[in-house]
């Protein structure tokens, strides 16, 4: 159970990072933090149930994290080219 609470706490820290920070890269890192929080609980459940399914799923999740990072960073680079900044507050073109 302690592992799950740890996972929840890390997840919430990630959410807070997303909500509070303006730097897009840090927001991306917060997302990664949230993903890794889920990894902790997967591995913990794997241990708890005595099978390896959780670990297999975590390995798949790593690939998804890599995808997310790749696409996210490409988007950030694109946005930086557009505005010369990674401040999320500048990207509000949808409002206009």
């Amino acid at each position: 159970m302690e592992y799950i609470v740890l996972s929840v706490i890390i997840f919430c820290i990630g959410v807070a990072g997303i909500l509070l920070r303006r730097n897009l890269i840090i927001i991306l890192m917060s997302v990664e933090l949230m993903l890794s929080a889920s990894n902790i609980s997967f591995v913990a459940f794997s241990k708890m149930h005595g099978n390896l399914d959780g670990q297999a799923v975590v390995l798949l999740l790593y690939v998804l994290a890599a995808c997310e990072a790749a696409v996210g960073l490409a988007i950030i680079v694109g946005l930086f080219r557009l505005k010369g900044s990674v401040d999320i507050q500048l990207f509000r073109d949808l409002k206009k």
Partner: protein
């Protein structure tokens, strides 16, 4: 006992990750956090996952992020600790939210009183052979799907990042 030590390390590094002014420092704290998580996974006998955590997360993804950070070469002005607009509302709600979720979690622990009990009989050592076999039999379809996702992500990243 060792769990609480590692958990403390993970939480502290995670908080430092989102609280650091400089994104490079932030990334480094995240690396530390992931490393600590890897150690935690070793204590859970998930050796392959731990190695992969270091190899993929710390070794590849975070290097990529650092690479981008350095490529963008942010000015000092960018590095300031800034809240987003409507900060008081969001900050307040965020704090309430965090407190609420954590309180909820703690309350559940308290109420249920359950503690972490590993399954009897073991068999959870995450060796390469065991996990690999599982990935290629039971999780063969997700495995393939994830590969396709990766391919799509690569193509997408190249197209997005190539610019004009």
């Amino acid at each position: 006992m060792i769990f609480y030590l590692i958990a403390f390390g993970i939480v502290v590094t995670a908080i430092l990750t989102i609280a650091s002014r400089n994104s490079v420092v932030s990334a480094l704290w995240l690396v530390a956090c992931l490393f600590a998580q890897a150690i935690l996974m070793v204590t859970l006998e998930a050796h392959l996952v731990a190695a992969m955590q270091v190899l993929l997360y710390a070794g590849a993804i975070m290097v990529l992020i650092l690479f981008v950070i350095m490529l963008l070469n942010l000015t000092p002005k960018e590095l300031k600790w800034k809240f987003i607009a409507g900060e008081r509302l969001i900050l307040g709600s965020g704090v309430i939210y965090l407190a609420g979720v954590m309180g909820l979690a703690l309350w559940i622990i308290y109420k249920k009183g359950a503690s972490f009990v590993p399954a009897a009989g073991g068999g959870t050592a995450g060796t390469v052979e065991a996990v690999g076999k599982l990935l290629l039999t039971k999780y063969a379809l997700p495995f393939e799907l994830v590969s396709v996702t990766l391919l799509v992500a690569i193509v997408g990243a190249i197209l997005t990042g190539r610019g004009k």
